[in-house]
Amino acid sequence: MWAYRFRLERDLARWQERGLVTPEAAAEILAEVRAGRSGPSLAGVLSTLAAVLMGFAAMSFVAANWQDMPKWLRLGVIASALVASHGMAAWLFQRGRDAFAHAATLAASSLFGAALMLVSLMYHADGHPPELLLVWGLVALVSGAAVRSPPSLALAMVLFGGWSAWESGARHGVHLPFLIPWAVTALAFLSLRWRPGLHLAAFALGLWIVGLGALIDDPRSHMLVAGIGVAITVAGAIASRGPHSWRTLGPIIVAYGTAIAFVGFFSIQFVQPFVAGIGASGVEHGADALVTRALPALAFLAAVVLWAMARGHPGAVSVGVAALSIELFALLVDGRAHWLVALSGAGVAGVALAGERRLGWSVLATRSAVVYGAGMAFLALYAWQFWQDRPGSAGPRTLELVILAVLALGLVVSLVSWATRHGLTRVQWAAFAAFSIEVFSLYVNTIGTLLGTSLFLLVASLIVGALAWLAIRLHERGRAVTEEVAR
């Protein structure tokens, strides 16, 4: 409502400018909107509250006497409640109170579930509970589709999800029948053009696909999940180039596909080897195995983010970036492939800088990406140098440590100069902190001998000092040139 009025005011101003609407007409339209749609009246609110109170009173009365009522009376109460809720919905639709009417339709569909439970309770019928959920869902689906009431359809989708989860949990196997009611409900959402419903449908199907990884008794099941996710992503990317109605749907499909694929890739890297290692003969999964599993994931996520950046789909960018940062963090914590994290972090920063220069990416996005990428790279380099406490690893040798320390210090120094050039004080301070932590850790851990550390830090200080001198010279020369030109 607020959004509508805001847009209307803006549009009216534009129409007035173009002479389409007279100022008097514009004022009248606005006055009409303000007066006519100021929400429910006081009488309406009070009568709704009174109805709710009366409903609760009736419910407590029924609950208090439920046990003592003969069955026919209980059945009568249940039937009257169903009739009343449907009648209420019809009455509200006739009065044009659509929002309340949809709520009443939802209440009627929900009440049917309660009725189903009460009746099976009355007859001690505890047969197969998931089937009750299915019947309830089907009823909500029929009501929602016939009345064209989205909330009831949403209830149906949730119930189908519950039914499927219960069934697949009980049999510990894939529950294919879910796809039928899912498809029908999704089609109903589509025909109503109800966006939240389509998201709900995508979410439900996504959960079902992700569930395949856990439910299929095969180490390749996670690959199946990742494969389906990639296929959905590609399909969404193709759809986004299609006719107009698909063009808006495509990027959303890409976002969901990416999320599904990432769950699959994540399980391939960090869940499945762990489970397999416990199950069979304790297979050793070394760094090579992890890298082989991580590279496809990194490549896929990088492709999604770059594609979404290039085409300007913020939703898909967010999902891709979120997945990428979870991936890098998991790799960092895992600790078997620090070089991959360092390289990826540097890659993120590099690509962001190139994107800003060549493709005109937004300044905020690129700067965040540079800081994130450099931060990840530094963390990986730091962990590589000083967190080698895994059993069976002796930590880096001296030469390796020197190279890593040079890389880490080089990274931090570049970050400081980049931040200084762009006037990013906080990034500067963070980089200084990283610099101090690196130097302090080198001092504590020592490179070979204490003398070796001292030598390394001396050389490092000379290099950084030389860089500073160079920077000052360049700055002065630049200023001299500008002044000359000015004169």
Binding site: H86, M122, Y123, H124, A125, A146, V147
Partner: protein
């Protein structure tokens, strides 16, 4: 966004929805009433159950001798435990009941035998297990009771004085028809 419907069309749709809901509940109730009025009736002694499972809020969980049904390895391999299947129960001379899995087609009952429809308590366990019996449910396992009477029933079941009168439908469905304490019918479930 949402295609507008006339309120008359919506009222008709709501009427349809109401009719469907009432029809489903009606079918459910008439099915149960038919079962309760069914002529076949058996008396099943209730087994003492682990009290932790027995008393759960306002209903009791009941277990019987026939809650474990004998199964051959061959049957186990062929059984789709996610679907209902048939179990044959028979009473020996001493009065105790035994059950065996018959498969997914209804067998002809021999004299002294009754055929019941059952579900595996855990399809997963039924599929992977290796013993000569599986845990099954007949829809006779929950009994909803007035508030606060659970402990009494629990005690009766532990003393093995409690028995359930079960009505058996022609297709093997079962429903609790009444409760017996010390061989006396103390509660008969009314159909209405």
């Amino acid at each position: 966004m949402i295609t507008a419907l006339s309120s008359i069309t919506r009222s008709r749709a709501l009427l349809l929805s109401l009719a469907l809901q009432v029809a489903i509940l009606g079918a459910f109730v008439s099915d149960r009433i038919g079962l309760l009025r069914s002529a076949t009736e058996i008396v099943l002694p209730v087994r003492p159950v682990d009290p932790r499972d027995l008393f759960r809020g306002d209903y009791v969980t009941l277990a019987y001798d026939i809650s474990r049904a004998a199964i051959t390895p061959d049957q186990r391999a062929r059984l789709d435990a996610t679907q209902p299947f048939f179990v044959v129960i028979r009473q020996d001379a001493a009065g105790s009941w035994s059950a065996r899995v018959a498969g997914d087609t209804r067998p002809a009952a021999q004299p002294g035998e009754t055929v019941l429809k059952a579900r595996a308590q855990s399809p997963e366990a039924a599929r992977r297990g290796s013993g000569d019996a599986i845990a099954v449910r007949y829809g006779l396992e929950s009994y909803f009771i007035p508030e606060g009477t659970g402990r009494q029933l629990e005690q009766l079941a532990r003393d093995r004085k409690l028995a359930v009168v079960a009505a058996i439908g022609p297709n093997g469905d079962a429903a609790i028809k009444g409760l017996m304490v010390d061989g006396q019918l103390t509660w008969r479930e009314p159909a209405f």
